[in-house]
Amino acid sequence: MIQRMTHASVYVIDQARAEDFYVNKLGLELKMKVPLGEDAYWLTLSPREQPELELTLMPIHNPNMFDPETAASLAKLVEAGTFGFGVFATQDVFATYQELKAKGVEFTKEPKEEFYGIEAMFKDDSGNWFSLTQFKAED
């Protein structure tokens, strides 16, 4: 029986820039930064209220990861906004939307009522999209 998830990966164009985005704009906490050579790191972050889940920012442009041709194709897809990596939950989507916008985060969907709550969508600095959702309170 699978009980929980501890790590999930997001492919990013530039790890240093992504670290700045996820820490200083989204407000995640840096958990591990382990040098792996070739200017690459094992880089993980957690939402402040969910330290048991580590989001791993994986560098695309690193010979340890992909050959140059594969990296170029993957980077193109990421930058085009092909991949969505998950849903961030917030208790007040309007407040978080305003805050992230004030910090320069690009939204692709303004907060909108959906059957599961109120949802906005944004892109990270590489082009990956995420949902930002205020879920309906359970009865």
Binding site: V34, L36, G37, N64, A95
Partner: protein, 142 residues
């Protein structure tokens, strides 16, 4: 635009003000004034939007900054305490311990030990599934 967006913008401005000026003495009444709210109204709206009262939020920002500085600089606990806006080392120590389960000094020591270990044996901190699949271990051992 959602009719409440102007209200949220003022609350977010107040929050960002605290994010930027946590190191200085911050008068929360002054922040409420900047947001054009009475202190009571501001407190209620802020808590509803961010889940914490402004004073609690400010305290948590200072603690997070302290945690980061203890982990990444050589500053003493006293220096960090004042650098992030607390004005008493004993109360800072108590708050830090309550929040993170260990004293600032113990946390700093643990971080320094971990960093030394990371430099010495990095692959003790990377799950093998990643290290082996991507060939990091192999390349780093060459």
């Amino acid at each position: 635009m959602h009719p409440k967006m102007y209200m949220y913008k003022r609350l977010v401005d107040a929050k960002l003000f605290m994010d930027q000026h946590y190191a200085t003495p911050i008068d929360l009444e002054c922040i409420a004034d900047t947001a054009y709210y009475s202190k009571y109204h501001f407190l209620r709206l802020f808590k509803k939007a961010f889940g914490k009262a402004p004073a609690q939020y400010l305290r948590d920002v200072r603690l997070q900054q302290a945690k980061q500085q203890l982990a990444t600089t050589q500053q003493s606990v006293t220096e960090v305490c004042f650098a992030v806006g607390f004005d008493s080392v004993p109360s800072f120590t108590l708050l830090f311990k309550k929040q993170y389960g260990q004293s600032p000094k113990a946390y700093q020591r643990a971080q320094q030990e971990q960093q030394a270990q990371v430099a010495k044996q990095p692959f003790q901190f990377v799950p093998n599934c990643f290290a082996e699949t991507y060939g990091w271990k192999e390349r780093n051992s060459q």
